[in-house]
């Protein structure tokens, strides 16, 4: 009897606390089926230049005090210029997010637009990445890279190793 009352109080406390401050309740699972259209292998080709992406949907645990799970897009990239490999994280493709050295990470801004992060391995920095479906066949999407907003660390390298505007095709 006492234990039931204690459980009720704890549930109420957690519930009320989560109302105010967290994006999702603790211990919840937050699925995003709208990410499915981005999942797969994507390719851009221009002469001897190629950019490949391998994108996966993964359920990720967000650390304390959030303590919820949410589906996000996790990916890896390979960039070849003039037939020479410039940078690649493909050797890790498909691994779990934590410890998986992913270089693409994102979430839906709208059903057809994804916003997130691209790791520029050569310049050792993260950039803002926007992926937008060109139409509702979901076989092509626009890739747009931008400098992330905000203050930068010492020796920050401006500019991009990868192309900033292109169209990827689903394989």
């Amino acid at each position: 009897m006492k234990s039931i009352i204690i459980i009720i109080i704890i549930v109420l406390f957690i519930t009320l606390k989560s109302f105010g401050q967290a994006p999702h309740p603790p211990c919840s699972f937050n699925s995003h089926p709208e990410l499915d259209k981005f999942v797969g292998t994507w390719l851009w080709v221009l002469g001897t230049d190629t950019l490949e992406l391998k994108l996966y949907k993964q359920a990720i645990h967000f650390p304390s005090p959030l303590d919820y799970e949410e589906e996000c897009l996790v990916g890896w990239h390979r960039y070849v210029k003039n037939s020479n490999a410039v940078e690649s994280s493909f050797q890790y493709a498909g691994q779990a997010f934590f410890g998986g050295n992913s270089t693409v990470f994102g979430w839906n801004q709208s059903p057809i637009k994804l916003y997130g992060n691209l790791n520029d391995l050569t310049k050792d920095k993260h950039c803002d990445l926007y992926l937008t479906m060109t139409d509702n066949t979901y076989v092509q999407m626009i890739w747009k890279l931008m400098e992330s907003r905000g203050m930068k660390l010492p020796n920050f390298q401006y500019g991009f190793t990868l192309p900033t505007n292109l169209v990827l095709t689903k394989q």
Partner: protein, 504 residues
């Protein structure tokens, strides 16, 4: 008996399941609310519901305004232009009297309630709502502190306001809301409203209130003015804090003519307050007197920084520089030493919405601006936080008690201070200390809490505060007044409203 216990147990289990389901559904509902809110309705709701009290007189006044609001929408207008009423900090002045006239005895009793009005960035009370209720009428008026001279300075014994009584009201409001007890008089004409002592127009007066509450649930307000402190306690406090104090006693009145390093207020209120005096517009005739610099009080630190020679200018300059197409910033050290303050100005690359700031030595503060661009944020960005944590980890912050981290846009300015280092370290460990955790924080910041350039300033401000509070970042946030003249600490309260959050 046994059957009843089993039934009770089953009912409790059932209640538990219902509660869990309710919690889940409710959380999701709150998460998915995206409908636009009518700004005036939201302000009106704040007007009536923020800082409310069950006091019957206040309830009667709220009822009066609810009725008026249906016809005129006055509540939202007052909240937008003057601030939200702090009903629970109202002052009450009563007069029970009867007039004998040729037609007989007339009830001349009235009640006047003075309600402080505050914007979320206010650090002092600047306006009040005055409601006068008689047996057959209710009228209201809004008075701003800068209007004190319009009421004249002559002593009077009636209910009519004069400059001294207006000062008394605002001093009491400031005591009730912010805890200020002492006020430096900037316009000595205010003191002409009393007849206890002769006012020396060339001297500085400090007015001290008693420490007993006078709000709606406490004593009834007496409009008799507080007298300047007779104990000279502030002199001892100043001396203990290391200030050099020059003072004299005029009768029982303690008159401080100067204190501190170069902070000689010489001729005092007689001349400095003149601007607000004759016309009653533009400046106030008093200000809170808080000379004892408490390094452990972040509000006191920010207030003190705003009184230094350089610190306010950095913010003014960066506000003016938002029209450039690059970010600008300052790193600084020794901000309290007006002569030996060191600063380094920095500019970011054009068109990048970013700036690289690299202190060579531990510093006391930094600030940067977000220039006018459709993608700019009115609050700090995720990368700004990463920078702050990086400086903290690499010992580029000399003393967190005085270190300020600021940002300025065309219409906002904020300062953040690390006020709980242990919480900040935990927050940093959870969200900023490796590449993967940074990705998660970036998502939580921009997506989970919804901070983005498409939202309004108010929405971003609330989301930003909720992010810091929800993640237990150990950070205090100070918001600037629109003219950058002051910063006040703010937070999101339990009713999901952005409100002042005084340090004492």
């Amino acid at each position: 008996m046994n059957f009843k216990l089993k039934l009770l147990n089953r009912m409790l289990y059932l209640s538990l399941i219902v509660l869990i389901v309710f919690a889940k559904v409710s959380c999701r509902k709150i998460d998915s609310v995206t409908e636009p809110i009518d700004e005036n309705k939201a302000l009106a709701s704040q007007f009536f519901h923020a800082h409310k009290t069950e006091n019957p007189l206040i309830q009667k006044i709220i009822g009066y305004f609810e009725s008026l609001n249906k016809k005129t929408g006055i509540a939202g207008k007052i909240a937008a232009n003057y601030g939200t009423p702090y009903w629970d900090k109202s002052l009450l002045h009563q007069n029970n009297s009867f007039l004998t006239t040729a037609k007989g005895t007339v009830d001349n009793s009235y009640v006047v309630v003075y309600i402080p009005l505050l914007q979320s960035y206010d650090t002092t009370v600047k306006s009040q709502l005055t409601v006068k209720m008689t047996s057959n009428d209710t009228i209201y008026e809004i008075i701003s502190e800068v209007e004190y001279a319009n009421f004249g300075f002559l002593p009077n014994d009636t209910s009519v306001l004069n400059g001294l009584k207006v000062f008394t009201l605002f001093a009491k409001h400031n005591q009730n809301v912010f805890g200020y007890r002492r006020f430096k008089i900037l316009d000595n004409r205010i003191l002409q409203g009393q007849t206890v002592f002769t006012v020396n127009s060339n001297k500085q007066y400090i007015m001290e209130l008693d420490s007993l509450p006078t709000n709606i649930s406490g004593r009834t307000l007496s409009l008799a003015a507080p007298l300047p402190s007779s104990s000279c306690m502030q002199v001892y406090e100043l001396q203990n804090a290391g200030y050099t104090v020059v003072y004299t006693m005029v009768g029982d009145v303690c008159v401080i003519s100067s204190y501190g390093l170069g902070d000689d207020f010489g001729d005092g209120g007689g001349s400095t307050g003149g601007g607000g005096g004759s016309s009653g517009g533009g400046s106030t005739g008093w200000e809170p007197f808080t000379p004892t610099f408490d390094i452990n009080n972040p509000c006191n630190v920010v207030d003190s920084l705003m009184k230094t020679q350089n610190f306010p200018i950095y913010y003014q300059y960066l506000r003016a520089a938002v029209t450039h197409n690059y970010e600008s910033g300052y790193l600084f050290k020794n901000p309290f030493d007006n002569i030996n303050t060191i600063h380094d100005s920095v500019a970011g690359p054009p068109g990048t919405l970013s700036i690289s700031m690299s202190p060579a030595v531990p510093i006391d503060g930094a600030l940067h601006n977000h220039y006018n661009d459709s993608l700019r944020l009115p609050v700090f960005s995720f990368d700004d936080f990463y920078q702050l944590y990086n400086w903290y980890e690499n010992e580029k912050i000399d003393d967190t008690r005085i270190f300020t981290f600021g940002m300025v846009s065309d219409s906002t300015a904020y300062i953040i201070m690390i006020t709980d280092s242990i919480a900040f370290e935990t927050f940093g460990f959870n969200f900023l200390n490796d590449a993967e955790k940074c990705k998660l924080f970036k998502k939580v910041f921009y997506d989970g809490y919804g901070i983005n350039e498409k939202k309004s300033i108010a929405e971003n401000e609330k989301a930003f505060l909720k992010a810091l509070q929800g993640l237990g970042a150990g950070i205090s946030v100070f918001k600037a007044a629109p003219d950058l003249s002051s910063f006040g600490r703010i937070h999101v309260n339990q009713y999901d409203q952005v409100r002042p959050y005084p340090c004492n």
